[in-house]
Amino acid sequence: MAKVLIAETSYLVRKGLVSLLEQTDGVTELKAAGHPDTIVQTLKEFSPDIILLNSAIQMPVTHDKLLSLLHDKARFIYIINTPLPEDSPANHISVFDTKNKLTEKLSHHLRQYESAEEKEETEELTPREKLILKHVALGYTNKEIATKLFISTHTVISHRKNITRKLDIKTVSGLTVYSLINGIIKMEDIQ
């Protein structure tokens, strides 16, 4: 997941890139700037992970100074106003590139920012969570559940948070309905 800054003077190219990146996975925040001073200002405040910078822009500061404004893992992609040769570096894109070409290159860079923890997290309830859910659905309070299962109230609360996050159900009556539908409790249990 990356924050992206588009630094491009041309209105058309800027808007085009914005529209393209809005459809691309992995962009969490997107900003665009056209004027060199605004670009420097935005760099400082926004602290982007990826900067798409048109190589023709005369920046008011040196390249080294520019780098010093960024965090260590940030990277530049250069927008070139001419068609690119066959063997151009991976961090060059051209205003002549096709949509497919652009998407391919940008996705390649965005993938570097995928964090490990976001990968593959199961949304299934664990047996423990099911047990907690059963008690919640039966109408027990956190404290009662803690006593019954010999765990701390704190643990019960953290299980409940996970249950709610996984199921997208917040209210107790909602959880009860879920439990009934899925046979975790029976109708007779709550009457």
Binding site: T171, G174, L180, M187
Partner: protein
Amino acid sequence: MSDLVQSDFELLAVLQRLKIPFGFKEKSIQTICREEGIDLNFFLNLARWYHERDFFPGETLMNHPVKWLVKYLRSTHSCYIEYHIPRIEEEIIRMESLDRSGGHNMQLMLKFFREYISEFTTHIQLEEEKIFPYILSLEENFEKETPDPEFLKTARGYTIKDFLDEHSDIEEKLVDLRNILLKYLAPPSDNCLFTNVLIEIFRLGNDLNDHTILEENVLIPQVIKLERDFHNKFPR
């Protein structure tokens, strides 16, 4: 005015809540607002917000008399209570009657929704019977030379901030209902009906969200300011 509606029919909700009658003919927005006694800017601000979404006219709306907003919120309430909620209830009843699965799932949904209705009604009643009358009297008395002594007594012992504590989240249960229908129930025989119930619940949810935004970001701050001005004007 008809051009406006044609460009974005969701704005019909705004028209309805401001009680603007149909039959626009070729009249302009300005003419219709004048005829209906609605401030043009108030209307345009609301309409623009409904249409553009990323623009919220909080500050601007706060400069209008609070009674306009209260009137608007009141018609929104009656729209929920008289139309949207009963309609969703009827549709769930119909789904239940069509359910041949032999399970009790639809019955459960109906029970759950009815619980929601009663919570929702209590919430609205609190606003209609306590909060709104208080706000209206506050504004009315603020404009007087000397406030009504009865009201002055109430005002000194109460602030809208107390109400904020009681202001329960009426969306939560609806979101739960939506997620259960969407994620955990196999659709019953009539698929079209099922989809439509979901669409209506989504719509109502979004609308309630707008309603809450107006209450919490315009109405409440505006009343807090009004209370401050009121107490400055009529110190103890």
